[in-house]
């Protein structure tokens, strides 16, 4: 009997793994004295897959029987290679409880194929959450996937029980969605998103009045966009995400590089398809700049530019598009500007601000503060350090940042000629200007000083 559960687990976890949402954060849920578990604002990754993704939740489908036929999905109706199966409510509850007690997981992420209709499917997911919360006093994290088309009543009950709800958009344009998922459209996804947003807003408002307001998806909602299955460019993907953050107040948009599942004809052929891993990474970086660093979409990726620079992180790319804004003085620049320097993060920017209240921040302090000098050196000044390249030659800076440890050959060969032998620069320019103990400037001091900020 147990072997049977193990087999179900293998099949239904395998089918759920392409949903990359992993967060177990976003809402505090306190435990009772006799209950099991809690949720912390900071999530915990309990292990990582061999491809480096975080595993914090038991992420499974309730059932992989599905009436839909979406080309990008492994459990699509027409895929005959898949063994169809389903858990019972009790099995999912027991797995969650036993895994949680062993500290394997932060909670449950439950999704499902649509096995009869939206309501029947959603009802099963809600039943699992209800049993965990009410019968088993489970206070760990629960993320439920909402099935487009489910009734509002069920959505509301799901919101009361879960820490986060999500509806996946999957395909970043409606035209492509129609092409690969004939049964779906944007309206059926946006409608439940609206319901969740309203429920969540109401809960937030009530919570201001009384701490005992019934919860509604305290961790908000998220969605996922699959990249690489359809031809949308980065600008389209990011502007969709930007709109979702603004209009639907989503907590997260996940970008899932499409993994070829079969040759369907509607999606890329596995034989020639290449995993868009770099693209996925750059999208997350750009997303991060928009969500955490107050960049606007246009600053990250101008309208006339459809694709992110795959060789350069988006913050460095931004700085090189606006060379006239740099370099900035770490001892006087406001926090918002420090955050915009490539190689400086929120933490190191905070550390600089804390340190300069008591004295001057010098070049030698920066590395200890966690600044990535390899990139930051071209964009900042300290009393000892004046970068001389910025403003004069962004192309040269790009070449140096991108070149890094690797020879830089791939970029150079783009020009058709064999890569010239790159001789190392005559003493690293920035380092050359550190004040020597005697106070004299090191040799390169005579190089032209860039305009101070």
């Amino acid at each position: 009997m147990r072997t049977q559960v193990i087999e179900k687990l293998e099949i239904l976890a395998d089918a759920a793994k392409y949903d990359v949402s992993c967060a177990s954060s976003g809402g505090e849920r306190e435990n009772s004295k006799t209950g099991l578990g809690n949720s912390r604002a900071m999530g915990i990754c309990h292990t990582y897959t061999p491809d480096g993704r975080c595993v914090s939740l038991l992420k499974v489908l309730f059932s992989n029987v599905c009436i839909y036929d979406c080309a990008y999905c492994t459990t699509r109706r027409s895929n005959e290679e898949v063994v169809r199966t389903a858990f019972t409510v009790k099995e999912v509850v027991d797995l969650t409880m036993e895994f949680y007690k062993r500290n394997y997981i932060e909670g449950l992420f439950l999704s499902s194929g649509i096995f009869r209709d939206a309501d029947t499917t959603t009802e099963k997911l809600v039943e699992v959450a209800r049993s965990l919360r009410h019968e088993h006093q489970f206070n760990g994290y629960i993320h439920l996937k909402v099935i487009p088309g489910a009734s509002t009543d069920l959505l509301v009950e799901a919101g009361r029980l879960a820490d986060r709800l999500s509806v996946n958009i999957e395909i970043p344009s409606e035209r492509s969605l129609k092409a690969v998922a004939p049964e779906k459209d944007y309206a059926s996804v946006i409608r439940p998103m609206d319901t969740i947003r309203e429920g969540h807003d109401e809960y937030r408002a009530e919570r201001k009045k009384t701490k005992r307001a019934p919860r509604f998806s305290p961790g908000g909602q998220s969605t996922q966009l699959v990249v690489g299955a359809t031809p949308e460019d980065d600008r389209t993907v990011l502007s969709l995400a930007d709109g979702l953050y603004k209009e639907q107040k989503l907590r997260r948009v996940y970008y899932s590089g499409y993994v070829p599942i079969s040759s369907d004809g509607r999606v890329p052929d596995p034989a020639t398809y290449r995993q868009p891993l770099a693209r996925e990474h750059r999208l997350y970086q750009a997303d991060w700049l928009i969500r955490q660093y107050d960049f606007s979409l246009d600053e990250v990726l101008p309208a006339e530019q459809p694709h992110l620079d795959m060789k350069l992180d988006p913050k460095a790319a931004y700085a090189l598009r606006f060379p006239e804004l740099f370099p900035i003085d770490v001892n006087t620049a406001p926090m918002e500007w420090l955050q915009r320097v490539p190689g400086l993060g929120l933490k190191s920017a905070r550390r600089i601000v804390a340190a300069r209240r008591r004295g001057t921040v010098r070049w030698e302090h920066l590395r200890a503060m966690g600044v990535v000098l390899k990139r930051a050196r071209y964009f900042i000044t300290t009393p000892e350090h004046r970068p001389h390249l910025i403003g004069t030659d962004p192309g040269e800076i790009r070449r140096r940042i991108v070149g890094g440890k690797a020879s830089g050959a791939p970029q150079l060969s783009l020009f058709g000629a064999p890569p010239p032998v790159v001789t190392p620069p005559p003493a690293a320019p920035a380092r050359g200007r550190i004040v020597t103990p005697s106070g004299a400037l090191a040799p390169l001091a005579s190089a032209p000083l860039a305009r101070a900020a």
Binding site: R2, E10, G35, P50, D51, R53, R102, A355
Partner: protein, 348 residues
């Protein structure tokens, strides 16, 4: 701060004295009070009775730990900068040579300059304290993630263990789920013999840091986290069944005081299911072992259930005669280095 009326205007200089405390954090706080009276910081702080032979400076001066004084200082420090005591404490738990003096310098800088000294990374002791506090904090966070509990029975030969051996088969559809709410509450039956045991080998002494996290998460379970490197155990009991009303439910005890434990019959099955899950969620096309190793360094693998080799499927049938010893052999991390006996330095 110890003497607000005599707030120093200039930082204390390092002197040549060696202080001997009782090895506790409270003792270290009292050492600052003493240094403040003496007008100079000590060059070294050692634990009484554990002084390394032949240290450079004169005979250690004994510092007495006064709990009220230490607690007044903690209050003062927290008032200046909330979270500071936790940070100093985590740095202290790094057990690094010289960290005690850096902590005293940091306390002194806070006494002179206020909260701003804390985040100032141009000040060496502040940087050192921050760095070690961060490392200990990271190790603690990793323990919160990588601790793996196994269901055990206490006193495997007692009558309780026999009763518990009846397979509960909670996953078989025809059998009722026995791991229901009744096993969670502090009912005398459930808390009589069941104990959740995890073995860890953290780089730093993080048990005091992680205690609260696990106490909040598993208040109704009886669990033990055994630090095999330091031979210390973090033990949590459910109040009703095990404890006198005033006793601490969560506490740190020497490993030698732990009762005998044996894994329960269903433990192996759940471990196999977790490994099956871990295999199923892998996407081989995206494999990136370098990234994987950065997140899960190899030194944690011995304690991770998902990194253990699969055991025979025979054990998965409830009827199988479970060899408890074999399970504990499979599950127990294999020490790669000899256990370094540090002795139970009281850090709480």
């Amino acid at each position: 701060m110890p003497a607000p009326e005599a707030r120093p205007s200039a930082p204390l200089q390092l002197g040549t004295a060696t202080y001997a405390t009782d090895g506790s954090f409270a003792g270290l706080l009292c050492a600052y009070a003493r240094a403040h009276r003496a007008g100079a910081l000590p060059a070294e702080v050692v634990t009484a009775g554990q002084a390394a032979p032949g240290h450079l400076f004169g005979a250690p001066e004994a510092v007495e730990t006064e709990a009220p004084l230490a607690s007044r200082m903690e209050h003062g420090l927290e008032r200046v900068k909330p979270g500071l005591v936790g940070k100093l404490f985590r740095a202290f738990l790094s057990e690094r040579a010289g960290i005690e003096v850096a902590i005293l310098q940091m306390i002194d800088a806070v006494a002179v300059d206020g909260a701003e000294a804390v985040g100032d990374w141009t000040f060496e002791p502040s940087r050192q304290v921050s760095r070690w506090a961060q490392r200990v904090g990271r190790e603690a966070h990793r323990m919160e993630a990588f601790v793996r509990f196994e269901r055990h029975e206490e006193g495997a030969s007692g009558e309780w263990a026999v009763a518990e051996k009846t397979p509960s088969t909670p996953l078989a559809p025809e059998a009722p789920v026995s791991a229901g709410p009744q096993s969670l509450g502090p009912s005398p039956a459930a808390s009589g013999g069941e104990r959740w045991l995890a073995r860890v080998r953290p780089e730093y002494h993080v048990l005091p840091v992680i205690a609260e996290h696990f106490a909040l998460r598993y208040p109704a379970l009886r669990w033990t986290i055994l630090d095999e490197r330091r031979r210390l155990a973090l033990v949590h009991d459910t109040p009703a069944a095990d404890l006198a009303p005033e006793a601490d439910a969560t506490r740190i005890v020497p490993a030698s005081s732990l009762p005998d434990l044996a894994p329960t019959a269903d433990e192996r099955a759940y471990q196999a299911m977790w490994r099956a899950y871990f295999r199923a969620v892998d996407i081989p096309e995206r494999r990136n072992l370098k990234l994987h190793l950065r997140h899960v360094p190899k030194r944690y693998w011995p304690q991770l259930t998902e990194k253990q080799p699969e055991v025979s499927m025979m054990a998965l049938t409830p009827e199988a005669d479970v060899d408890a010893e074999a399970i504990s052999r499979t599950a127990a991390p294999k020490p790669r280095r000899a256990v370094k006996a540090l002795g139970p330095r009281s850090r709480t």
